[in-house]
Amino acid sequence: MNYLLVIILLPLFGFLINAFIGKKLPKTISGIIGSGTILVSFVLSSVFFLGFLNGTQQKIDVDVYDWIAFGDFKITFGLLLDQLSVMWLMVITGVGFLIHVYSMGYMHEDEKFHNFFSYLNLFIFFMLLLVLGNNFLVTFIGWEGVGLCSYLLIGFWFKNQDYNNAAKKAFVMNRIGDLGFLIGMFLLLYNFHSLHFGTIQTALGTIQVSHATIVAITMLLFVGAMGKSAQLPLYTWLPDAMAGPTPVSALIHAATMVTAGIYMIARAHFLYLLAPETMQFIAVIGAATALFAATIGVFQNDIKKVLAYSTVSQLGLMFMALGIGAFTSGVFHVVTHAFFKACLFLGSGSVIHALHGEQDIRKMGGLRKWMPITFITFLLSSLAISGIFPFAGFFSKDEILAAAYEHNKVLWAVASFASFLTAFYMFRLVFLTFTGDFRGTEEQKHHLHESPSVITFPLIVLALLAVVGGFMGLPEVFHAKHFLKEFLNPVFAQATQAGGEMGAHETNSSIEIMLMSIASILAVVAIAIAYVMYVSRKRIPAKDGEQYGIGKIIYNKYYVDEIYNALVVKPILVLSELAHDVLDRTFVDGIVNWSGKFSLMAGAQVRKIQNGSIGFYLLFMVVSIVAIFAFVFLKN
């Protein structure tokens, strides 16, 4: 447990150092502190991981202290380390460390270098808290904390108000999800009197909770996941989030934070298993997102935007896996996706770095010549994400597709088509960026160079992982041990027991081989089409404003942002002004002021009696006295 605390607190320590005295330190030291703390965390995590691997490490579930506690109410601050969280731990610290190293090169010119590292460390801290919390509320700290870091890092170059808008959008959209999460927690707390994962899991057997409640809880938690993991309809922040520096996109918006939703649902799988309706809903949303984002990805021209939509699409795939009960496959894809997507983002960063900030693939081309390492790593990762055998993506994606086939043929078809599109747009990206002739300015061409080793080193490591990462989950048809499935079995035991329907791998091997072949063929065809279009025929995407038809609509992302603007943002702004000017100042305050004015008016009327004429006063007095006498007299 102490080591666990060290793992969490080290990044916080790094954050504090860089935040308080980072300015006075040389950049190298600042970077080393930032990366070093993560490295130590990674090493310690590996110790835990190996412990779990050879069975010496037991699940850790400890309460550190009573956080919110009074009377009968008690929510502790506690940590939980089991096979599921250790997987994430490895990804966060491992990939996180590589990206820290990369950032030392990438951000070297930036004057707020130490700020960058402090934010990154803070992010890792919150992310670790998210995956290590032993109850929903501690997870929620991390959940909102990573949202904050995402906000800070998207808007890292805060002089540009567009970036700030993107950051704000990300935060607010996440908050919409968070409200769902929060209400979900209220339901849990109300029904189970606890937010502790283990307690709830055991209480499910003893406490009678209506099915509708469970569905509501799972749905609300999923709303949280929709926000954090950029699913329909709350996905629009993620493409905008590419305003942040590229390492941020790699770390937060590809490898770790956006997978928090998947982690949370995997963590709460025992609830989801009781709510088939929600599972169905998740599967549909996941598949829809996968397809929707993939189509947008096909028409984007910004290298990072393509990758962003690809991330949204892959996350959709993972959610689909969760929705059909293939939790292990979802987690598997999270891990492999972290490898190749981080590599792709970092590769695109390397390209952008070389081109001094150019992100438009129409102005790239032929970079293979100047940037061989970046090209090779990028290519390997693209092969992995496209699902080409034997790269990582092949295995994880195949598992999901197989499970989907078993569950529902439509889902499978949608997911396969999304994968087809993925292979296409990824290779469109590869070909447009790295092959053909350079289409940028002479000035840029003159400065083209391969990135320094501090940048290429993480690329190489990640590319290697993208190549071999898949072997942790070999399919059963290969008669190999599915390592990940066994490893995660203690966590998902309930899910596996829940029936053959959930365990996709009962599929007979001939069907599975058929599915694999279809997926591979689709990927190869897609790559071939991309090759024909962009290498043989040397097509270049149309300039802005010259698109037409469906291409234009998709290029403009189906105008979703515009629709949200018109339906939500504008009305709220108008309402805000109306509420202030008309309702508040004129109406509510009007009544208050009117009551004041009424007093004045009444006073003015009454004052007329005081006309100053003594005779009138006297008359009034006498008449009044007579009236009083008359009254008293008549009353008796």
Partner: protein
């Protein structure tokens, strides 16, 4: 003494005193209401006071209780003080505005 008083009442009934007091009082009230000279109003007020005094004395004798007469002295003392203050205010007003007509004395309105 007592017999004399009682014999007076046997000759002049109490109703007469009440009547004359009422008349005096009404004259006073009307004077206050309809005259415009502040001094006359003042005198009318005095008339009202004295009509009450008369009534007090009459009842005092009638009930054979001296406290009514004590009260009359009290009223007279207060009236004297009032006249002293009131008249001096009037004199001051007259010095300033050269009039004691109440229709013209409206400047306190504002």
């Amino acid at each position: 003494m007592m017999n004399v008083m009682l014999s007076i009442f046997s000759v002049v009934p109490i109703q007469y005193y009440i009547f004359i007091s009422a008349v005096l009082f009404c004259i006073g009230v009307l004077g206050v209401l309809f005259r415009r000279n502040a001094i006359i109003i003042f005198m009318s007020v005095e008339l009202m006071l004295n009509s009450v005094n008369l009534l007090l004395v009459a009842f005092s004798a009638y009930h054979n209780d001296a406290s009514g007469q004590v009260f009359v002295f009290f009223v007279m003392a207060v009236a004297a003080a009032e006249v002293a203050v009131g008249l001096s205010i009037l004199v001051t007003i007259y010095r300033n505005v050269h009039s004691v007509d109440i229709d013209e004395l409206k400047s306190l309105k504002h």
